[in-house]
Amino acid sequence: MLRFVLTRFVSLTLSLIVASLVIFAVIEIIPGDPASYMLGLNASPDAVAALRDQLGLNESLALRYVDWVGGMVTGDFGLSYTYKVPVSDLVMQRLWVSLPLAIYALVLSTLIAIPVGLIAAAKRGSATDYSIMGATQLGIAVPNFWFAMLLVLVFAVTLRWFSAGGFPGWDAGFWLALKSLTLPAIALALPQASILARVMRSALIETLGEDYIRTARAKGLSRRQATVRHALRNAMIPVLTIIGLQFSFLLAGAIIIENVFFLPGLGRLIFQGITQRDLIVVESLVMLLVFAVILVTFLVDIAYAAVDPRLRRGR
């Protein structure tokens, strides 16, 4: 197992190096001069030269790459051109909104999807199964911004249980902050939970047809015991895959929901970075998200091995 973790770790490091090279190269490949691109068409040559200097564009390629990577490793992402503050500060602020929100939504989605999928699979073909399948179909089909507005209408405007948007910050108190993330998390979790429940159901149905379930029943286990003890863990592999993909998506893909609820999250920062041509912000954020995706993949791999002993050998 330890060897497996080590091999996966080496592969994680290699992926990161490759990703950083690609991102760096893409920024380099962008036609024209990043500095004049960032400043727009009407920039004066002096301003461009100053920015070039600030960006370190006059140095050699290799040195700039090393600087950039070295900076990131030590937490120095450079200075945002538009905000005139260190990118790391910007990112950290936003991360404290986006990361808890993503985790919140993922926990909600998993807590809903796994039991729902389990029930649907156990009662396959029954009215319960059909209703659950219908509901998940709806959950996937409904656009989440519309669902989010519906939530605001019901729980914020009418019932006044939650505020309609904004984020008070974690300094305002843990519960208050969590409360303000609740509606966005529900809006994000709905489609994810629908997808996950369907995956859970089909994985479980497949597993329930396996020979070892029959063996378990022949040993005297009831249907429920055989499902919980033997089928559940075997059905987890595809579920873990989807959870991993969903987490990466939730971290940066929540931009619409962030807008609906006026949350200062990563999605909005990327969007602003792109519209304002703040390449340093975009570059850093892309690298950060790549890092997050690779890290999640690494964790999912470890989870696979924890679930299935056949995967524990180092490859």
Partner: protein, 527 residues
């Protein structure tokens, strides 16, 4: 004593079992034989109360003074695994891959509340030792064991609570002959020692003859004949039993063909597989699956290749077909070296028929398209495609009207005939038959073997016949090669090898093959 009385089962209105009466006496071994779909496994599942959804059952299954069919599910759970244990066919999939074998054996004890966790581990250790796995730690996972070892674990699970009845459903069908012999011996010893009844379900008459006290023959959900095993074999009062026995030792007629010049030769063929790197920066290891194998095959000759699973038979076949590169030696077919540069026109002269009649066809293609597929090997596909397909189908005894149908409409035997038609379509000189009859029932197998022999005589075909089944190889080949761990250990004329094996391994293989005693078969032979 367990008694089945007028047991009938139907699934969604289709009758599966009809009025089955069978007594399983304490300490006795009862064999239930029949072809696939005859209802053998359903009988076992009916006893266990594990029939699929939608099954309607009538009759009685008496265990002591209880009728299992009238019991509630909770009571049945208390009986399964406790008073009735069961072993299944597929050792590779019958164990949960994510749980240790120790956990799986102790689960039987724990679920019935018959032992504390600590006691259960001790009993599991004992039972695993009893099935010959004394050296295997409880912490092993199923994937770390061989098929035979897994079947031993399954047996340990089934006997952990000393059940009154043990049901073994084709327990050795998926195993090699030598492993089969060991597992059958083990089951017999345990049953005798512990005084259990055993219901042994199998398609193999020879296994029944060697193992059981009492035999029941099943056909289309009915028991057509049952009785004391030796008497049953000697008298053979029912025509179906007779036909079954005859088919199982079927000898197709093979007029001797003049063997001509070799069309296929192999010299010192070596095939290595790369194995995972032992550590991250070490060179990958290698596994020699085929080691310096040489052979020749003359035109019109039929060459057998036998050996147990993992011996390299299939790897050698893939090399001969040019599907995999070889790392040493040469394979020559029709005077050309088999490899990347092998001309397509010649490639159409070698065709292959695989084992699985279900998996080896694209389900979305018509039979015409399936059979005509090898035409793409020919420089110019013939214009009379439909006529050629019809001819090939007629050759294998399938109506040409089948051309526009899809493969799921055919039975296993018919599919295998269509696979042979596909192999014949390019008028090849050599057909490789890779376990081509292994998945078929005995009566269908006999027909397909006849067909294979007939086609050889008509078209002067050469065959390479790969099988783990010695009796089939003996019936259909002129020469045979015995393969073990990548090497050919013995080769020679088929009859000579089988009647007077030279290599100890060949002797082991032949000795391990179950056989019906010659004098039991007198009646069937003269029928």
């Amino acid at each position: 004593m367990i008694a089945l009385e007028t047991l009938s089962v139907s699934i969604h209105g289709t009758p599966i079992l009809r009025n089955v009466d069978l007594g399983l006496e304490t300490g006795k071994i009862t064999g239930l034989v029949g072809e696939s779909g005859s209802g053998k496994s359903m009988t076992a599942l009916a006893i266990m109360g594990l029939l699929p959804n939608g099954a309607e059952v009538s009759g009685h299954v008496r265990l002591g003074d209880e009728d299992l069919l009238s019991l509630r599910e909770t009571r049945l759970c208390a009986i399964r695994g406790n008073r009735i244990g069961m072993i299944f066919q597929e050792p590779m999939t019958a164990l949960n891959p994510v749980k240790t074998i120790g956990d799986q054996v102790t689960e039987t004890l724990l679920i019935h509340g018959r032992a504390t966790r600590r006691e259960a581990r001790d009993i599991a250790t004992d039972k695993l030792a009893r099935v010959g796995l004394g050296q295997t730690p409880l912490s092993r996972f199923p994937h770390e064991l061989s098929g035979g070892q897994r079947q031993r674990v399954a047996i340990a699970m089934a006997i952990a609570l000393h059940p009154d009845l043990l049901i073994a459903d084709e327990p050795t069908t998926a195993l090699d002959v030598t492993t089969q012999a060991q597992i059958l011996d083990l089951i017999r010893d345990i049953v005798t020692e512990e005084g259990m009844s055993l219901l042994l379900i199998t398609h193999d008459l020879a296994v029944v003859a060697g193992m059981t006290d009492h035999t029941a023959v099943m056909k289309e959900g009915e028991i057509v004949e049952q009785g004391e095993t030796e008497t049953l074999f000697r008298t053979m009062s029912h025509p179906y039993t007779k036909a079954l026995l005859k088919a199982s030792s079927h000898q197709p007629e093979r007029p001797p063909l003049p063997v001509q010049d070799p069309i296929l030769t192999g010299e010192g063929v070596i095939r290595d597989y790369r194995t995972p790197r032992p550590s991250l920066f070490a060179a990958p290891g290698r596994f020699r699956a085929v080691n310096a194998v040489s052979f020749t095959l003359g035109k019109g000759e039929s060459l057998g290749l036998v050996g147990e699973s993992g011996c390299g038979k299939s790897t050698l076949t893939r090399a001969i077909l040019g599907l995999d590169p070889i790392q040493g030696g040469t394979i020559t077919a029709f005077g050309h070296r088999v490899g990347p540069g092998f001309p397509n026109a010649l490639r159409s002269g070698i065709q292959v028929v695989f084992q699985d009649p279900y998996g080896s066809f694209n389900p979305r293609w018509t039979v015409e398209r399936l059979v005509a597929e090898p035409f793409h090997l020919m420089p110019s596909p013939p214009a009379d495609r439909r006529a050629r397909v019809a001819e090939a189908l007629a050759d294998v005894g399938i109506e040409p009207t089948a051309m526009d149908r899809f493969i799921h409409e055919f039975s296993g035997g018919q599919r295998q005939r269509i696979a042979i038609a596909r192999a014949l379509i390019t008028k090849p000189e050599l057909i490789v038959l890779d376990e081509a009859v292994s998945a078929l029932d005995v009566s269908v197998r006999a027909q397909v073997l006849d067909l294979i022999a007939k086609l050889q005589a008509e078209h002067g075909l050469s065959y390479i016949f790969i099988s783990h089944d010695l009796s089939v190889v003996r019936a259909i080949t002129d020469r045979v090669m015995v393969m073990r761990e990548g090497e050919i250990v013995e080769t020679g004329a088929t009859e000579a090898v089988f009647s007077n094996p030279q290599h100890p391994y060949t002797r082991t293989l032949i000795a391990a093959t179950p056989q019906i005693p010659e004098d039991w078969q007198e009646k069937a032979k003269h029928a």
